[in-house]
């Protein structure tokens, strides 16, 4: 039974989407629990990719391909997981700040968060502070996560933090920031709870914040 989990994990790392789908189906038929398939098969594989990405051993294209394979597997599992009432790790509102259209980094963050079992509400790019707040309220979010690639737009993160504060959400919602020009010092200056230099670390820290 463990062999098939390992197989799913390895196929996912290689980005073999159709085979991942097939093996997940087969595992279900063999009587494996959907939760085990998710955690020991799919998420375990994504963890390996995340670790390799952080060490520069794999790059953006491999992460995207592996994530596509993961989503294929999750699609098969979803009805079963829902039936069993498997809880998500938490809800994250994610977006690139207003004035900024860069989305590759943000998409990687989304994939890594999903790889840790988070429910991610992706607001896309050019997202205003109000939109972040509205989504956080609507989805009863645990974390709001902002990305920016330009030094001229990253200052917008301060507005998002302020808007969360004004809406009375700051006690409840953790605020995370990231993107190429963002540094720890900048994150401190906008009152963020957490800054991480890469997508894989972001997902780990998000998990830590939600369990704290």
């Amino acid at each position: 039974m463990d062999d098939i989990m390992l197989e799913i994990s390895e196929l996912l790392q290689k980005g073999r989407a159709p085979l991942v789908k097939e093996k997940v189906q087969q595992a279900l038929e063999n009587g494996c629990s959907p939760k085990d398939i998710l955690e020991q098969g799919l998420l375990a594989g994504m963890d390996v990719i995340g670790e390799k990405f952080r060490n520069n051993e794999v790059f953006v294209p491999e992460v995207l391909i592996a994530a596509r394979a993961m989503n294929n597997g999750i699609a098969v599992l979803k009805p079963h997981l829902a039936a069993m009432g498997v809880e998500s790790a938490g809800c994250v509102i994610l977006g690139t700040v207003k004035g900024d259209l860069h989305d590759i980094g943000k998409n990687l963050v989304k994939l890594m968060l999903e790889g840790k079992g988070f429910q991610v509400v992706d607001l896309g790019v050019n997202v205003s502070a109000e939109q972040f707040v509205k989504a956080a309220q609507e989805h009863d979010a645990d974390i709001v996560c902002c990305s920016a690639l330009l030094t001229t737009t990253m200052t917008e993160m301060k507005s998002v933090e302020q808007a969360l504060r004004d809406a009375g959400l700051r006690e409840k919602v953790k605020f995370m920031v990231g993107g190429a020009p963002v540094t720890q010092a900048f994150a401190d200056s906008v009152g963020a709870d957490c800054y991480t230099p890469d997508a894989a670390t972001c997902a780990e820290e998000a998990l830590r914040l939600c369990r704290a």
């Binding site: 790059f59 491999e62 995207l64 900024d100 050019n126 540094t183």
Partner: protein, 500 residues
């Protein structure tokens, strides 16, 4: 070097205005390049960023980052990183083509042209008969505010626009004066001038608000295209009338328009592609004289930024890497190797690839094992895995831009007759290596042609040629600009071409 830190200044602040390009990332403590060594004085302890970017041995030797290290009195430092000895490429020798049909009204008169580049500023003095009389170049002193246009725009928005304007004007003034001295004429006898530059550089020179360039949709407040008095631009030395050619978009400026003019892309003819490749890549596709253009942000990797051993094309830079009987060979621009410049970086990656030391995904491997870094032959200079990742991002941005242009026009790469490569890096690179690593479509490598500083060449055409100014204006108004940042087709290609 003695500096005054009595106000608690950082070393970078204390050195500002001395024309030493110290802070590639604009002093945010993110690039780790602006290394100095503290020799004397009292210093505040290293910041978190310094501890992250410097090793404990380096910190023990007093090596610090200029943008982070704060002194508390009169101090003494040694600058370990500087780029003020820039290798400047001249546009000589290519002037015959575009200078046919000279303006009659410039006969016997003098004028100047200048390319106000983000990295390098060049000025030339001309006689109306098309003779180049003098040329001078220096690094853009605005570099103290950061190597890229975005950090300069940010500084201007923080209220330092006047300083940036003064630096640009002062630098142009000095270059024009020196070029005049070389030409043996007085700056007062210059009647006309043409200054090209990207939209942000012209905006800062004219002292206008760059807010529109800072955020989406990146629309400039002013597209330029008009005449200015030398005094309006703070140019005491220059001639009476100065023309700033019209820009196409926030990130396709007058320099790109001038380059397209220099390559005669607006003339009917075969399918041609032009790439001005640097930190920002501007690309034009000419379909029988009709123009389609776009820009992509390649980042500073081709100019040495974000590359651990990256440096500009000056002495000590490995500029060529090649294979000889299966052995990896290298050449520097003089002296023992100190780092690698853009063309050397491309060559090294292509050579690693040929030796199967770099796999398709961009992983450095040897005997099947991933390697953290790889030495370039016996040069003692190595590229790290992270350097390769930064190269992948940069080359992919350029390639995806070119292919998106071609695909929008329904043109296949093999239908392009000539690929013109312009800019300092663009015209120095080896097209074969560029094709091998996929910076340009591999099929176009044999059809690539270096143009040198095409923007400056185009500026001369605008100053001197009968129809130069009119044609530049027409290019700026008629070229169709593709905004790639929201184009899903571009994003897909961008990810695809990160692979080797």
């Amino acid at each position: 070097m003695k500096i005054d830190c009595r106000n608690g200044d950082t070393v970078a602040d204390a050195l500002k205005g001395q024309n030493i390009l110290l802070t590639p990332c604009g002093g945010r403590g993110s690039c780790g390049k602006c290394r100095i060594q503290t020799l004397a004085g009292e210093w505040l302890p290293p910041t978190g960023d310094e501890r992250r970017l410097l090793s404990s041995e380096e910190l023990a030797q007093g090596i610090r980052l200029a943008c982070q290290a704060r002194g508390t009195g009169l101090c003494e430092v040694k600058v370990l990183f500087q780029t003020d000895e820039m290798h400047i490429q001249s546009a000589h020798g290519q002037l015959t083509g575009p200078l046919r049909k000279l303006r009659r009204d410039m006969d016997g008169k003098y004028g100047f042209t200048a390319d106000l580049g983000t990295t390098t500023v060049v000025a030339q003095v001309w006689r109306g008969d098309g003779s180049l009389l003098g040329e001078r170049a220096m690094p853009n002193p605005q570099g103290a505010f950061g190597a890229d246009v975005i950090s300069r725009i940010e500084s201007a928005l923080e209220g330092r626009g006047q300083e940036l304007q003064d630096l640009a004007a002062g630098c142009l003034d000095e270059l024009i004066k020196e070029a005049c001295r070389q030409a043996g004429i007085s700056p007062g006898s210059l009647e006309e001038g043409v200054i090209v530059g990207n939209t942000a550089m012209l905006t800062l020179l004219a002292g206008e608000d760059p807010q529109g360039l800072a955020v989406f949709p990146f629309e400039p407040g002013d597209y330029f295209g008009g005449w200015y008095g030398a005094q309006d631009l703070g140019l005491g030395a220059a001639g009476a009338r100065i023309h700033l050619p019209r820009c196409i978009a926030g990130y396709v400026g007058a320099d790109a328009v001038a380059a397209a003019l220099a390559a005669d892309l607006d003339r009917p003819g075969p399918v041609r592609l032009l790439g001005d490749i640097g930190t920002n890549g501007e690309m034009f596709l000419s379909l029988n004289g009709k123009l389609l253009c776009c820009s992509t942000a390649a980042g500073p990797a081709f100019e040495g930024g974000g590359i651990s051993c990256g440096m500009p094309g000056i002495g000590g830079a490995i500029s060529k890497v090649f294979l000889q009987e299966g052995q990896l060979k290298w050449e520097t621009l003089g002296g023992t190797p100190r780092g690698v410049c853009g063309s050397g970086l491309l060559d090294a990656a292509a050579a690693f690839q040929a030796l199967r030391l770099l796999d398709e995904s961009g992983l450095l491997v040897k005997d099947g094992e991933p390697q953290p870094s790889m030495e370039i032959g016996d040069s003692k200079i190595a590229l790290t895995q992270r350097d390769i990742r930064n190269l992948q991002l940069a080359k992919s941005a350029i390639r995806a831009g070119m292919e998106t242009l071609l695909s929008r026009a329904g043109v296949l790469p093999e239908q392009v007759e000539t690929l013109y490569l312009a800019g300092g890096f663009g015209s120095c690179l080896n097209p074969k290596s560029a094709g091998a690593i996929g910076l340009i479509p591999p099929r176009l490598a044999p059809r690539a042609e270096g143009l040198g500083n095409a923007a400056l060449l185009g500026a001369a055409a605008i100053l001197l040629r009968e129809e130069g100014r009119r044609r530049a204006l027409a290019i700026s108004k008629e070229a169709v600009h593709l905004e790639l940042s929201q184009d899903p087709d571009f994003m897909e290609r961008y990810v695809e071409h990160m692979m080797f």
